[in-house]
Amino acid sequence: MNGFFALGAGEIEAVRLSVRVALWAMLASLPFGIAAAFLLARGRFWGKGLVDGLVHLPLVMPPVVVGYLLLLLFGRNGPLGRLFADCCGVVFAFRWTGAALASAVVGFPLMVRAIRLSLDAVDRRLEEAAATLGAGRFFVFLLVTLPLTAPGIIAGMVLSFARSLGEFGATITFVSNIPGETRTLPLEIYTLTQTPGGDPAALRLTAIAVVLSLAALIASEFLARRVGRRLGGE
């Protein structure tokens, strides 16, 4: 029985890698997610519909297509891949950073939608009140709008994290399936099911995936309730 629960080195690595990739994907896309949600909720500019469509594209496109596009753009010879390599020394191709990028892109529409919903629900009259008290636009955003959007930001972060944990198609297309580098939990499970005798390990990892997803959900629920109480003014 002990043998069944003992995780192999590859499995532990896959879990740790998955969590790292998901955390990076979530945190790195957060500022962009807030900015995009703000732009879409409040902005009035020509071509807003196009921007809206672009943000939502990864939600409706096959992940494999997203992965292939990322490969073209951020691959070793892609225009953006070169740019990042030259300017900041960040390489995405066949690295865990690429897995994080793929997860971030695929989770982005979910994050933006959640934040935008919350932003739409913010009482603009409170922002007016803040302005009459001497707060300029930046401080109104920082002290009033952003805190009142917190429930949506939390929800968006959790959705992005969960979507990252489950990311498969875009990742395997973009950065392949390299043990210890890009072989995240879903890729490890997939690999194990393709390997003779890999089923018990696949089952263990599946259980871990369920636990991780549940933990993320529970944590978000807990946070959302706390924030909700605060925003309710109690």
Partner: protein, 376 residues
Amino acid sequence: MIEVDLEHRLGTFALDIHFRAGRGLTALFGRSGAGKTSVVNAVAGLIQPARGRIVVDGTALTDTERGVAIPPHRRRIGYVFQEGRLFSHLTVRQNLMFGRWFARHARHAARLDEVVALLALGGLLDRRPGRLSGGEKQRVALGRALLANPRLLLMDEPLAALDAERKDEILPYIERLRDEAGLPIVYVSHSVAEVVRLANTIVLIADGRVRALGPVAEVLGRAEAHPLAGAAEAGAVLVARVARHDREWGLTELEGGFGRLTVPFLDLPEGAALRVRIRARDVILATAPPPGISALNVLAGGVEALVPGEGPAVEVELRAGSERLLARVTRRSAAALALAPGRPVYAVIKTVAIDRRSLGRHDPADFGDELEIFDG
């Protein structure tokens, strides 16, 4: 000193407002939808008028001709909204300090402890707005506006969402603010009782225009003011002071430019100044001093004008001494008594008809202004 000159369109509604107001409390008075809130929003900079000029203490905040449009956060105009608009994610203390922080370099800004003492907020500081009563919320909103170091305070129907008891809880604080803080206040209201109690000057607004401007007693003493303001009942406002108390009968005698008036006992020191509102329907007219009646108050005066009212009624504007009075009588009575401008009459007022809640404190120095009347 505040000067407002603005023209604005909201759909089919045209706003064309011009007035000047000095120190003390200026009431923008009129029925709902008359455009009062748009005026204060323009003063606060929350809406930009199509054309106009708004000057506060010599500083042009809005001047469409010269392209001046100072953004709201640099205007230093305090605003107390009808619904409070407290920040629900912050404590009462943080709400109060919100504007104080932006005004932290100001020299003469009010301090937290002063405002907390003025508005009795001491026990509320660590609570969140969700746990406050309606009256407490408005007190916090008032304190929050004061701490932002405003040069003018706007109040948009701050009592409208409160029940009568809560209103009575807030009114003394607004009076203290008016009398002690020396901050000019522009107060939007459609309530005659609030205006009588609080205002030094009334700006009567109807259909987006200023219809009358002047001291409270003068504006409300005219018959046409009341339908314009959508007030359910016409009534005049008398400026009076307490002459003496008659404790045996539970009465207080008031005197003023109108003569003497007996009202139910008032817990005010002798000499205290106040305002009394007398509803037009509580005034009976006679052409000779009536003998043997139960009413205690008979004021001698003369008819100034007759204004047709609804149905069979006519509103009679009277001058009693130096004060105005309104009486509502039927057309038939007016004909029978041959009421016409210049006719001497006696106004009989039932003592019990004097509305205790409309008794407001009054500072005699406020009434130096001349009455101005604008034709629609």
